[in-house]
Amino acid sequence: MGFSMLWPVFKQMFKKPWTNKFPAKYQPNNTTKYLADVAAGKAKINPPVPTPEGFRGKIVYDTEKCIGCKLCIKVCPCGAIEFKEKEKKVKFYLSRCCFCSQCNDVCPVKCISMSDEFLLSDADPYSKDLIVE
């Protein structure tokens, strides 16, 4: 009984770790510089665990199809959608979005869909990446 955990511990030493080392195998000295390198193509990123089918990620919006019925604004739980009066189109603020996909469900012309993109963190809530229009 006293050494019953010895074998599991021994096995554990030679097992492949579960953790996916994202974005790099070892913590880079300067993360900002590392990400800049990745963008410039100098360094390679360790890919994240793939998302399953039906994942609710960043909103994709087809402006052409939109008829401006405002139904998505009515059901959005976090008030992340703004109506542009002049063009009769909508604008999504992803920093407020809770990714429930309700706007996608309610849309009568199916102009909204959810992509599998989820790396959306940004220091600026109004940055270009976080506004879909």
Partner: protein, 412 residues
């Protein structure tokens, strides 16, 4: 001549923010040496005005708000809310949706109980088991993500059904996960039930007697750990639990005796993980074909709700016990006139006092954790005096006086 001694106790405040507590709650202990003589619990540090916010939104928006009452119970809170609205509006849920609701509800119970088992092991300093439980839980979370589209905030419910179907192609992954969960359950049962350390640490500590559990209205595994047969799934079957059949899990199923201590609560939760796996398998087997939602057009549904004048109650068995949502519509707008939530931890706060009395200071974390408290769910009301900007409490006499004053006002 005998020497006169005066026996005094000293006070230890623990919380609201404390390393041993996962969420803000304040304990005031009267300590005599190492023994706890008296306890006072103070709540109300994480009030978020969710009900108030909900009374300014339409029911479809509230589903996602209810989901965020608790990060772990992100299925049962919206389920209780949806059932309250369905009750008020007399909406019939298709049978297939009922079975899918069972699958997701039980999946959430597995995740929650495994998370709790890990936290409990961590509290007694058994961190290996913490990682073991969370490895098993990861499988359940992966399945949740596969079926609903997200790991924690599932967004699967809607009023009158569910939003996503469980299709034929999903069955392979479900079966695979259930097999690995069974395997994991075996490992965990061995780690918790056959281990000397866990037994030493949890047997005879934090005792809640059968009478106290009844008197203080404990719910969920806390009550069942003391031998009280209380489970909404069996008492008042909702969704498809009536067809599938649920049995009460009390510790005497395994050990033949009920002590009402922390060990018994560990047994109840572990056995419930097994029960949930069985329930999911049964629900998948017996699932009938058909629609998954009674009214897929949301504008039409909202119009229907707008005309309703009445109230509804939704109750269901969360991993921690019974959850009750109350909704009232005034027939003028689709926004609820009132929305009241009673989370399960609310009923499990008072049982802490008999549990902690007489125990040692070192037992506080494991005893407090043994009811699986969820403070953020519980905090519903904060009374603040605008003039002085100070919190104050309403005790029985003040409330009584207020009530008498109101009667007088209404007479004159």
């Amino acid at each position: 001549m005998s020497k006169e001694t005066t026996q005094t106790t000293y006070q230890i405040p623990i919380g609201p923010i404390h390393p041993s507590l996962k969420e803000p709650v304040m304990f005031k202990f009267d300590i005599d040496g190492e023994r706890i003589v008296d306890v006072d619990v103070e709540l109300g540090h994480v009030h978020r005005a969710i009900e108030w916010t909900g009374m300014r939104r339409n029911p479809i928006q509230i589903i996602y708000l209810a989901e965020r009452i608790c990060g772990i119970c992100s299925f049962v809170h919206p389920l209780a809310f949806c059932r309250a609205v369905e009750n008020a509006c007399e909406i019939d849920v298709p049978e297939r949706a009922d079975y899918i609701r069972v699958v997701h509800g039980e999946l959430e119970r597995i995740c929650s109980h495994l998370l709790w088992a890990g936290v409990a092991a961590h509290e007694i300093g058994f961190d290996t088991v913490l990682f073991l439980t969370w490895e098993v839980r990861e499988k359940a979370l992966d399945l949740t993500e596969y079926l609903t589209g997200n790991r924690v905030t599932k967004a699967i419910l809607t009023i009158g059904g569910v939003r996503r179907d469980i299709k034929k192609e999903h069955h392979a992954k479900i079966n695979e996960t259930m097999a690995s969960l069974k395997e994991g359950y075996k490992k965990l049962a061995h780690a918790f039930l056959d281990d000397k350390t866990v037994k030493m640490r949890s047997k005879g500590c934090g005792v809640l007697t059968y009478d106290d559990a009844l008197k203080l209205c404990a719910v969920g595994p806390t009550a069942r750990g003391s031998g009280v047969k209380k489970d909404v799934r069996a008492d008042q079957p909702y969704t498809a639990y009536g067809d599938i059949g649920v049995d009460y899990i009390t510790p005497d199923v395994l050990t033949g005796e009920v002590n009402g201590d922390v060990y018994d609560r560990i047994i109840v939760r572990l056995l419930e993980v097994k029960q949930s796996i069985d329930l999911i398998e049964k629900a998948i087997d017996q699932m009938p074909a058909g629609d998954i939602v009674s009214e897929p057009k949301i504008p039409k549904l909202l119009n229907q709700i707008k005309k309703i004048e009445g109230e509804g109650i939704g109750r269901d068995e969360a991993p921690r016990g019974e959850v009750i949502h109350y909704v009232k519509f005034d027939g003028k707008s689709e926004t609820p006139y009132t929305w009241k939530v009673r989370a399960s931890t609310y009923a499990n706060v008072l049982p802490w006092i008999p549990m902690l009395k007489g125990d040692q200071i070192a037992d506080i974390p494991i005893v407090a954790a043994s009811t699986d408290p969820c403070m953020s769910c519980t905090n519903r009301v904060a009374v603040i005096n605008n003039a002085t900007n100070k919190n104050y409490m309403l005790n029985k006499e003040t409330l009584h006086n207020l009530s008498v004053m109101k009667t007088r006002r209404m007479i004159h």
